[in-house]
């Protein structure tokens, strides 16, 4: 199951809640303000590293660009909207709002 997370980890509990329920191996895609979670060197770096160790992690490139994020944590793959569609084609979806 593909999990999408769209909220900043700093202002919402979505990220910290979602990671408690996501099963190992399930892909996680960060979109919209959610992409702040994958930026290198912020307060959530360690928690994100834990996710990356157990799950394929993606971030939506257009959302990263829109927010001026150039350095993402190692192990995060960037996808565009086409890549988002491909992930959805492969998995059922769980959109954590």
């Amino acid at each position: 199951m593909l999990h999408t997370i769209n909220k900043s980890p700093f202002s919402s509990d979505s990220f910290e809640t979602a990671v408690r329920f996501i099963q190992p191996g399930d892909p996680v895609l960060f979109i919209e303000n959610g992409v702040y979670a994958v930026e290198e060197g912020n307060r959530f770096a360690e928690q994100l590293a834990g996710v990356i160790m157990n799950n394929p992690v993606y971030a939506l490139q257009p959302d990263l660009d829109a927010r001026g994020i150039s350095s993402v944590a190692e192990g995060v793959a960037k996808v565009d909207y086409d890549g988002f569609v491909d992930l959805v084609a492969e998995h059922q979806v769980n959109s954590w709002l």
Partner: protein, 123 residues
């Protein structure tokens, strides 16, 4: 045909009541979907648990209360109500504080249930 068309649909309640309408309109959605004989479940995570609190009296804020409507779900054959244990505990609440009987599960158990669904809708 038959069973192959029954979809597993999970509704996830995440918002406290009254501050926003998400849980209330989510409940309205569940009540309609219940008539379609799909395999429905409802999970309460985080502030969503607050929607199930006993003794909510909304007269003072002028908004219709709806906690008791959760009690009607049983009559609609929506019997699978799950509550996240951590969410309950960090709020200092227990099952006795809730208006309906629920099954309290660990996050790993809820996560496993989520993975069996065809559709998951967060409210």
């Amino acid at each position: 045909m038959g069973n192959e068309h029954v979809k597993k649909i999970m509704h996830v309640m995440r918002h406290a009541p009254h501050g926003t309408i998400y849980t209330y309109e989510g409940l309205e959605m569940i009540l309609i979907m219940a008539a379609y004989e799909q395999d429905l479940s409802v999970v309460f995570i985080g502030d969503g648990i607050y929607a199930l609190r006993k003794n909510q009296d909304t007269a003072g804020i002028g908004i219709k209360g709806f906690a008791k409507t959760f009690m009607a779900l049983d009559g609609y054959d929506v019997e699978k109500l799950f509550v996240d244990r951590v969410s309950l505990e960090e709020r200092g609440l227990s099952e006795e504080d809730l208006v309906v009987d629920v099954e309290v599960l660990d996050s790993a158990e809820i996560g496993a249930l989520m993975n069996q669904q065809d559709v998951v809708i967060h409210h």
